[in-house]
């Protein structure tokens, strides 16, 4: 990135420098800028090298490997996927509430010590059957602009500092479905982790978040927290 930045500067600012009256000094500025970037890069690499030798190690591996995504996708939460996959993974479910499965057509959420990714279509099934507690991980301002009906608002950064708030959610034995604004939805996954740490079980999230939900034409409501 640093090299890229210096390339950019050379070609972007270089023209401005050319327009300067004293172009010799301008050339010096560009050279010094390249020097600053070069010194930074060298020091960064040297520091990281020391970091790899250090105890404890604080340096980074030279080339990053794709991180092992800690994602468990619920099997069979999508009808098309269900038909395609022949090898189902069986997980022992150790949750007494599982026997009170609210409706037969809802996918069963296993009790795992990690957030479980479900398809938006599965989330919709839970929504229709009121079989899950929906938690909105976005800011209150976004929540007020539009959210899933009945969804609680628990902004991710607030949740991070207030465990009591996390524990106060009454699920009535239902699984929790978190969601965020859209995209990869890191915040809803983080919130899901916080909920698990606070003692909740069967915490799920669906990617695409609120924007995906709204685009699909599923019901949304606008307004504050009062209406729940």
């Amino acid at each position: 990135m640093a090299r890229h930045a210096s390339w950019k500067r050379n070609h972007g600012m270089g023209e401005q420098v050319g327009a300067e009256r004293s172009s010799r000094q301008g050339g010096g500025t560009v050279r010094s800028a390249v020097l600053i970037v070069a010194v930074g890069v060298v020091l960064g690499i040297a520091y990281n090298y020391l970091g790899l030798l250090g105890n404890p190690v604080f340096g980074l591996e030279w080339l990053a490997r794709p991180p092992e995504e800690d994602v468990y996708v619920l099997e069979g939460s999508d009808p098309a996927e269900e038909a395609a996959s022949g090898e189902d993974e069986y997980i022992e479910v150790d949750d007494p509430m599982a026997v009170f499965a609210p409706a037969p057509d809802l996918p069963e959420i296993p009790d795992l010590p990690r957030p479980i990714q479900i398809q938006m279509s599965a989330a919709k099934k839970f929504f229709d059957a009121e079989g899950a507690v929906f938690v909105d991980a976005r800011d209150e301002a976004d929540y007020v602009l539009g959210h899933l009906p009945e969804a609680l608002n628990l902004p991710f950064d607030v949740a991070a500092t207030d465990p009591a708030l996390l524990e106060s959610i009454d699920t009535g034995g239902r699984p929790i479905i978190t969601y965020c604004g859209g995209g990869e939805c890191e915040t809803s996954i983080s919130l899901a982790w916080f909920l698990l740490e606070a003692g909740h079980t069967r915490v799920t999230y669906f990617p695409n978040g609120y924007s995906g939900w709204e685009e699909a034409g599923y019901p949304v409501v606008r307004g504050g927290k009062g209406e729940e």
């Binding site: 990135m1 640093a2 890229h4 930045a5 210096s6 950019k8 500067r9 972007g12 600012m13 300067e20 009256r21 010096g28 500025t29 560009v30 050279r31 010094s32 800028a33 020097l35 600053i36 970037v37 010194v39 930074g40 890069v41 020091l43 960064g44 690499i45 520091y47 990281n48 970091g51 604080f58 340096g59 980074l60 591996e61 030279w62 080339l63 990053a64 490997r65 794709p66 991180p67 976005r138 800011d139 950064d157 991070a160 965020c180 604004g181 859209g182 995209g183 990869e184 939805c185 890191e186 915040t187 809803s188 978040g209 924007s211």
Partner: protein
């Protein structure tokens, strides 16, 4: 208009801009260097670079910030420091803008993990101001013709 141009090109204005941007880069650089692992994760969350290069960016970028900050604060080739700062801010502007356009819901990691600010319009505005300050630090104090 003339007065504004004189103000923007006044040596004191330039020096103040250089110090301001130097302080910002000093803090952000040190915060990132203090927790490289977290910063590497933030870089990954932006999903802008090929995965293999993310660590190389994460380990060098904070040091470039730091050296640029020292150049600006200690007035050692401060105009060059301003150029580097402006280039970095341009990169950050693009990164935040692209993340915003893609609808990524991520923390920016701009000041290490202490900064939980999420990527959004406010962050874009901040970056734009910092870019402006960097450019100001570069301006030469010469008569307006």
């Amino acid at each position: 208009m003339q007065a504004l141009a004189v103000f923007l090109r006044h040596p004191y204005t330039r020096r103040a801009a250089q110090i301001a941007i130097g302080v910002v880069f000093l803090i952000s650089g040190l915060a990132k260097i203090g927790d490289l692992q977290s910063f590497a994760l933030e870089v990954h969350n932006f999903r802008m670079l090929p995965v293999w290069s993310e660590n190389l960016a994460a380990m060098t970028l904070p040091w470039v910030e730091l050296i640029a900050a020292l150049s600006l604060l200690l007035a050692i080739r401060p105009r060059a420091g301003s150029v580097v700062a402006a280039a970095l801010m341009a990169v950050f502007l693009v990164a935040v803008g692209v993340a915003q356009a893609r609808g990524l819901d991520i923390t920016c990691g701009c000041f290490g993990t202490a900064d939980g600010t999420r990527v959004g319009w406010i962050k874009l505005g901040e970056n734009l101001v910092l870019f402006g300050l960097s450019a100001l630090g570069y301006l030469r104090g010469q008569a307006v013709s």
